[in-house]
Symmetry: C2
Subunit: 130 residues, 2 copies
DNA sequence: TAAAAATACTCCATAGGTATTTTAT
DNA sequence: ATAAAATACCTATGGAGTATTTTTA
C-alpha cells in the first residue's frame, strides 16, 4: 500500500462514487476502480459495498477512511515543512562570531553543526547570508 | 513522494550508509541511491550530506527523519488495524433479535447498519456467525 | 434509457536490477 | 587497497489510458 491508495480511497468514500472521485483525482474511472480493488486484495478485506450505483464503506472501510484522513494530513504537513525548511522559510539560523568578522551559517551548508550551539570559525573569509 | 520513500530515507539515516540500508530494505544499492536523490529533487531540498563515506542529515533531513518515523508508525498501524477488522479480529458485532430467531450480523454483510444501534429483522431465515 | 462500474486490452513511466567506474579512507 | 557511492544501462512490473460492455435505477 502506498499513500496514493489512501488518497484514492478517501476520495471515493467522500464522493460515494468512483466516476466523480476519478475526476477530482484527475484520472480516469477504470484505473481508479482497479486500484481500489487492488487495495482490498492487498489488505485482504472488503472496504466498500456497492449499493446500486453508490458505494458505502464497510466497518474496515470506515476505519481506513477516518484514520486515512489523519494520515494524509500529516503526510502533506511533513512534505510542506520539509520543503519550507529546505528553502530557508523555516529552520534554525546558526550564528558564530569571531573578532575579525561575523558569519551566518545555515544548514545545509554546515550539516555537521548542531542547533543551539556556538561555533568559532578561525579563518573566516566572508559573510554568508542565505 | 510515497510512503516507500520515507521508509528508504529513514533507513539510510539510521544506517548512516546506503549499502547497509539497502541490505536492510532487501534491495540493491544503486536504486536506493537513486530514490534518495529523486526524493531530494522532488522536495527541492538537500536531505543528506556526504561526509566521506558517511551520510549526515541536513536540518531538513532531520525533520523528515523524525516526523517520518512517526508517519511510518501510524501508517503501519492503520494497515494492521484495517486488516484485523476485515478478519473479524477487531470490530463491532451487531446483534438483532426477533421472537422467532436470533441473528448475528457483522459488517461487511450489512454495511448499511450503524454501530450501537438495534435492528429488527422480519423474515429471518437463518442464524449467521462470522 | 441514461447514468456509472466492470472488463479487456494497450502503453509507458519508473522502480529496481546488473555491471562497472569513481571516490574516499 | 578496500569499501562504498555514483554512473550507465537494462528489464519488467504495474499504474494509467482508451474503447467497450455490463449493470442498475
Amino acid at each position: 500500500m502506498e499513500i496514493r491508495h489512501v488518497r484514492y480511497f478517501v476520495t471515493v468514500v467522500q464522493e460515494g462514487q468512483i466516476t466523480t472521485a476519478a475526476q477530482k483525482l484527475n484520472m480516469a474511472q477504470p484505473p481508479l476502480s482497479q486500484q481500489i480493488r487492488r487495495l482490498e486484495k492487498e489488505l485482504g478485506t472488503q472496504l466498500l459495498v456497492r449499493v446500486g450505483k453508490k458505494f458505502l464503506p464497510t466497518e474496515a472501510g470506515e476505519l481506513l477512511y477516518e484514520r486515512g484522513i489523519e494520515l494524509l494530513k500529516e503526510f502533506d504537513d511533513v512534505v510542506d515543512i520539509v520543503k519550507d525548511t529546505g528553502e530557508g522559510l523555516r529552520g534554525t539560523l546558526q550564528i558564530g562570531c569571531v573578532k575579525s568578522c561575523f558569519i551566518i551559517y545555515q544548514r545545509p551548508f554546515a550539516p555537521f553543526m548542531n542547533s543551539g550551539q556556538m561555533y568559532i570559525f578561525r579563518s573566516c573569509q566572508e559573510i554568508l547570508f542565505s
